[in-house]
Amino acid sequence: MTIVHDPETGIDRNTAIDLYRSMRTIRQFETTAGDLFAAGKLPGFIHLSIGQEAVAAGVCAPLEDSDYITTTHRGHGHCLAKGGRMREMMGELFGREGGYALGRSGSMHIADNSVGILGANAIVGGGIPMAVGGALAAKLTGDGQVSVSFFGDGAAAEGVLHECLNIAALWKLPIVFVCEHNGYAEMTPVSVHLANPDVAALAAVYGIPAVKVNGNDVAAVLAASHKAVARARAGEGPSFIEARTNRWRGHFEGDPQKYRHRDELNVMSQQDPLKMWHATLTSEHGLTRDDLDLIDAEIRDRVLTSAAEAEAMAPSDPAGLTRHVYPEAAR
């Protein structure tokens, strides 16, 4: 989905619907994954991005397949918004031969060369340099490609982010840093892990244009992304977006969340990016509740079908266990 969005003229109807579909797809994917996990069908840990859909949808909207992203352990939404195939993603969560990586990598390592997903990453901060490398490649190739790195507020405490900000600024690379600030690093609130919760300021100090946006408002995210991506494509260098948002679920599924205040969930549900955008679509773009119910149902169907197909895939075949340790063919 490539959206040319002009903040002056606002978001047109089709774009608005696309954004809704993108967010709804993520919400549904995550909800279904959560259900499957609760049912004991998904091995390992999974980390859901429910509540954070607007960041993924808004940031990825202006991106082409040839643009790059890197993301984190909480990366399903970004991968979906960037065009990752749902069925292969589900297959990977299940640990099936039909998954993106033959089931060998799991939820935290979705990658897809065909749509520029350099990879989700299970090391906090670990994917950021890779995105810088994507941006360097883009700059050298000179076709106006852009690289985007998603990471959390917790990653702002990893030194490697700061190294990358410095390099991106020095080399004027076409990269957009996107901090999904959801107020927690696992069970630790931001007040305990960041001396300055104003993450955008950490980037601004390198001379990188850095904005803070309401990460629950997909239009605000899109506006910021649009500007940052345009700047990158024009060869003007890096940008930074701090998107304030909410992690509705525990750090991982199964996290009892004892560390959370009771009313946090109430506050969050009032900031539901889906509900908010639903309201905009009906009030400003002339869609009816029924129109949107239809979209919801269609997406629900698509996700559940993908999940069912994935579940039905053959389990990963141990015979292939040691393939691809070295790349198999010259590229």
């Binding site: 089931g103 799991g106 935290m108 299970a122 990653a155 990893e158 069970m187 340790v325």
Partner: protein, 328 residues
């Protein structure tokens, strides 16, 4: 003796040592208020306060170095690097700094500190959360490396590590987290450098540790006609050469089993040492069983194929025992 889960035994060791010595500190991600990412530090904040039990940012290099500086200044910090895979972002502080401080200052400084990490091998956590990296750590002079496979050893080794005057890397098995075992009630430590002979036997010495140890025990339990001497190394560096060599001198056969990739793993050191030291006593080639040369996979059936399972271990034992030296 009390029956405790593995994580409870760790938790108890932390409580006991922090109560015994008020120079002991705990620093790490989610260790204080949340009581540890998997519960191992429950109650410590309440018992010992926010000065001694500290939640840290996600800054492994800095917190390992912070622990080191505090150790050099007279404290005895424990720093948690959540999963063993994450030590990759703190290797300089572990290897170039903590491990070398005593040597580089000719003993003028010491670094009485503990680094704790979980190894999540076997828990379907995928290629960046399941690595068995003990061989790297063991290759670093000045750094001791321990890994208890039972609740009692997890507690006893952690206590010993905290009391050690140098840096000790303590690995803990997430796969055993809820396994119960008898834990002594007294203040007993498990001395660093001493292996446990879990079972005696005359036909083959099976050396193992950490995540592989319970699977090796399962394999051996079922074997009736082969006399396997099962040694749980417990300390990987410095490893208990005497116990292993003495055993192989008796059995004439060695099988090392670990979850790490075979190539350049800890098994190589043990096999090479035994091959050299027991040259005349060996009745069969030294043998190593471990993960194949590949990153750790995620899917259950892949991970099961990747890690040595009781059946694999049993076959390796049987094959090794069958081998006889050709007449020379």
């Amino acid at each position: 003796m009390t029956a405790l889960k593995y994580w409870q035994a760790i938790n108890r060791a932390l409580h006991e040592e922090m109560a015994r010595d008020d120079r002991v500190l705990l620093i790490g991600e989610d260790v204080a208020e949340p009581g540890g990412p998997f519960g191992a530090s429950k109650g410590l904040l309440e018992a010992f306060g926010a000065e001694r039990v500290r939640d840290s940012p996600i800054s492994e290099a800095a917190i390992v170095g912070t622990a080191l500086g505090a150790a050099m200044a007279g404290y005895r910090p424990i720093v948690e690097v959540m999963f063993l895979d994450f030590v990759t972002v703190a290797m300089d502080q572990v290897v170039n700094q903590a491990a070398k401080v005593s040597y580089m200052s000719a003993g003028n400084f010491a670094a009485p500190m503990v680094i704790r990490s979980i190894c999540a091998s076997g828990r379907r956590t995928g290629p960046q959360h399941s690595q068995n990296l003990e061989a790297w750590l063991a290759h670093v002079p000045g750094l001791k490396v321990v890994w208890g496979s039972t609740p009692a050893d997890a507690r006893g080794l952690l206590k010993a590590a905290i009391r050690d005057d140098g840096p000790v890397y303590v690995i803990e098995s997430l796969a055993e987290w809820s396994t119960r075992g008898e834990v002594p009630d007294d203040d007993e430590i498990v001395p660093i450098g001493s292996a446990a002979v879990r079972r005696e036997g005359d036909d083959l010495t099976l050396v193992t540790w950490g995540g592989a140890a319970p699977r090796a025990a399962t394999a051996v339990e079922q074997m009736e006609d082969v006399g396997v001497e099962l040694i749980d190394l417990r300390t990987i560096s410095p490893w208990d050469r005497d116990t292993v060599l003495e055993s192989v001198r008796k059995t004439g056969r060695l099988l090392v089993v670990h979850d790490a990739v075979v190539e350049f793993g800890v098994g190589a050191e043990i096999a090479a040492t035994v091959a050299a030291e027991c040259f005349d006593e060996l009745r069969a080639p030294v043998r190593r069983l471990g993960a194949p040369y590949a990153p750790a996979p995620f899917a259950p059936q892949l991970e099961a194929a990747y890690l040595p399972q009781p059946e694999d271990i049993a076959s390796a034992v049987l094959e090794t025992v069958k081998t006889v030296r050709k007449a020379s």
